[in-house]
């Protein structure tokens, strides 16, 4: 009850935080998808660089989110706020996205590729018509994990000046205000679940005809 009252009396602020949160996640996802999808394809093509790239992404993923935010924040080109937050989150997205694109492409039955080559499909055609479509389920799993992850991690960016739902939690902690914390947590979870659900629907439309 108190939570609802809190939400109603603070609609304006909550709406602003939610939109900010949402737009940060979307920005990060768009950049990450392009960047890490291409990286994943690249390392599946050039096997030699696969291991170092994947190790690097693993190390990045082990760094606490607050550290990455903090380090980027102190760089003069990035500073407090959106740019540091987005860059840090893009870095976190690297591991699940690159790994799943790589795994997805690598998991394609080599005999299907052999048949494709034998019929005279070019490298590009094999990539576009066989490897990418067949990798999609694994890639999508990676995208969904990443979205949930990024949505949650974005809350911590409040400590470097992002005005998003993390701020409700931050202030909630500072003021011991349970309603604020709950409100922040619930809306963040809803965004995560919603994005995950939408991607699930999209996945079904994009991957026809398989068991």
């Amino acid at each position: 009850m108190q939570v609802i009252r809190f939400i109603i009396s603070n609609q304006q602020r909550i709406l602003e935080y939610t939109l900010n949160h949402f737009s940060l996640v979307i920005t990060v996802m768009l950049f990450s998808l392009v960047l890490w999808f291409l990286t994943g394809l690249l390392i599946s093509r050039y096997q030699r660089i696969a291991e170092p790239v994947l190790s690097f992404s693993n190390i990045l993923f082990c760094i606490p989110s607050i550290s990455l935010y903090g380090l980027f924040m102190t760089l003069p080109q990035l500073g407090l706020g959106r740019r540091s937050a987005a860059l840090a989150l893009i870095m976190y997205a690297m591991m699940p996205l690159v790994r799943n694109v790589y795994r997805g492409v690598k998991s394609v039955d080599p005999w299907v590729i052999e048949a494709g080559r034998g019929m005279g499909m070019s490298w590009r055609q094999i990539l576009l018509e066989i490897q990418i479509p067949l990798a999609l389920p694994v890639v999508f799993a990676g995208i969904r994990v990443t979205v949930v992850l990024i949505t949650g991690m974005a809350t911590v960016a409040t400590y470097i000046g992002e005005r998003n739902l993390g701020r409700l939690i931050q202030h909630g902690i500072a003021r011991s205000d349970y309603n604020m914390i709950i409100t922040g947590a619930v809306i963040v979870s809803i965004i995560a679940v919603l994005l995950d659900y939408i991607l699930g629907l999209l996945e079904k439309r994009l991957t026809p005809g398989r068991v």
Binding site: W111, V112, A115, G116, G118, G120, L134
Partner: protein, 369 residues
């Protein structure tokens, strides 16, 4: 025509060459069955023909042109390729799978569609039933037929088949083999057929290439390989029951005496006609549905009248059926001759004498060994 001239191949990570100094030629319209134990280089040779592997040295010519001079992708589009694992695209329908190469070659949609339907029928599938299905909805045998249809889609003159029927059960395999031989009668492709099963090689091949440790040990017709194996390795591969295999697996047409068609009016100089053509059997063109009247050079020389008759429908076998079938037919009909058909036309006869002589030649050879 496919020509290999002193082809060698050594893989990067291997100390032993996979293929050593192989030279051979596959004539147009022939099936060359490559057989040998695993690791003998047969698959490597096949994959070099469509440049999925590059030879370390030597030349491969397809249709008189050095394939090194051609764009690999374009080369492959002109060569059908069937593998044991089939490799159908799991996310495409059967129709889309079969039309893959024509689409790469940018045929018109209409032409593609009618071609695909035609092909599916040719390999014994019901287009209405399978066209929109996905590969996982088909049985192993059906998928393998789709694989063959896909390879034939753009009507390539050459077909490379790597153990194409290896993954299905023996009954289905037998049926697929026979269907393919039938199909081959119509399409007359130049086929390289890799198998590790000598029986399949004898059944499918116009010629058999026996390979061991990357070397071509023997390359000849099944009959010749069975009756004159060049060394112990080939004898071993052929197995103890070589003699029976000869009957079981030699095609009837290999032993047949070809027949010459004569008009009724030519009968008075039949001896002359036969001698000119070099054949020992003649036959008279039947009127309508009549049974076939034939005669042998020997009998006609003795002045015997034409009285031998092969009754329509019972005394005939197809040319690529084994000699054993000819023998069985003779026993069933209590006759010592059967007529041989090719594409439903009478082409010759095979007699009890032919078979006996055949068996004795093997015996002789075995004694020599």
């Amino acid at each position: 025509m496919i020509q290999l001239i002193d082809v060698n191949k050594t893989f990067l990570n291997s100390p032993v060459p996979a293929v050593r100094g192989v030279s051979m030629e596959v004539k147009d319209g022939e099936i060359c069955a490559m057989v040998g134990p695993s690791g003998c280089g047969k698959t490597t040779i096949l994959r070099m023909i469509n440049r999925l592997e590059e030879p370390s040295s030597g030349t491969i010519m397809v249709g008189g042109r050095d394939i090194q001079q051609e764009d690999p992708d374009r080369l492959r589009r002109g060569i059908g390729y069937v593998i044991q694992q089939i490799g159908l695209l799991p996310h495409r329908t059967i129709g889309e799978n079969v039309s893959l190469v024509p689409r790469l070659l940018r045929w018109s949609e209409q032409k593609i569609k009618s071609r695909v339907i035609n092909l599916l029928e040719m390999v014994g599938l019901d287009p209405g039933q399978v066209y929109e299905k996905f590969p996982h909805q088909l049985s192993g045998g059906q998928m393998q037929r789709v694989g063959v249809a896909r390879a034939l889609a753009a009507d390539p003159p050459i077909l490379l088949m790597d153990e194409p029927f290896g993954a299905v059960d023996p009954i289905v395999r037998n049926r697929l083999q026979e269907e393919f031989l039938n199909l081959q009668q119509q399409v007359k492709k130049t086929v390289c057929f890799v198998t590790h099963d000598i029986n399949e090689a004898i059944k499918m091949g116009d010629r058999i290439a026996v390979l061991n440790e990357g070397r071509l040990v023997q390359y000849n017709s099944p009959l010749e390989v069975l009756s004159h194996p060049v060394n112990d390795f080939v004898v071993n591969i052929l197995g103890e029951d070589r003699g029976v295999k000869l009957l079981n697996l030699t095609r009837a047409e290999a032993l047949m005496s070809e027949a010459v068609l004569l008009q009724e009016s030519q009968m008075d100089r039949a001896v002359q006609v036969l001698q000119e053509s070099g054949k020992t059997v003649g036959f008279i063109k039947p009127n309508g549905n009549e049974s076939i009247k034939y005669f042998t050079l020997e009998n006609i020389k003795k002045g015997m009248p034409v009285k031998e008759i092969l009754e329509k429908g019972t005394c005939f076998i197809d040319g690529f059926q084994p000699v054993k079938t000819a023998l069985e037919t003779m026993m069933k009909r209590n006759s010592d001759v059967v007529g041989i058909l090719k594409e439903d036309r009478f082409v010759g006869i095979i007699t009890w004498q032919d078979i006996k002589k055949h068996i004795s030649t093997i015996r002789e050879h075995e004694n020599e060994c």
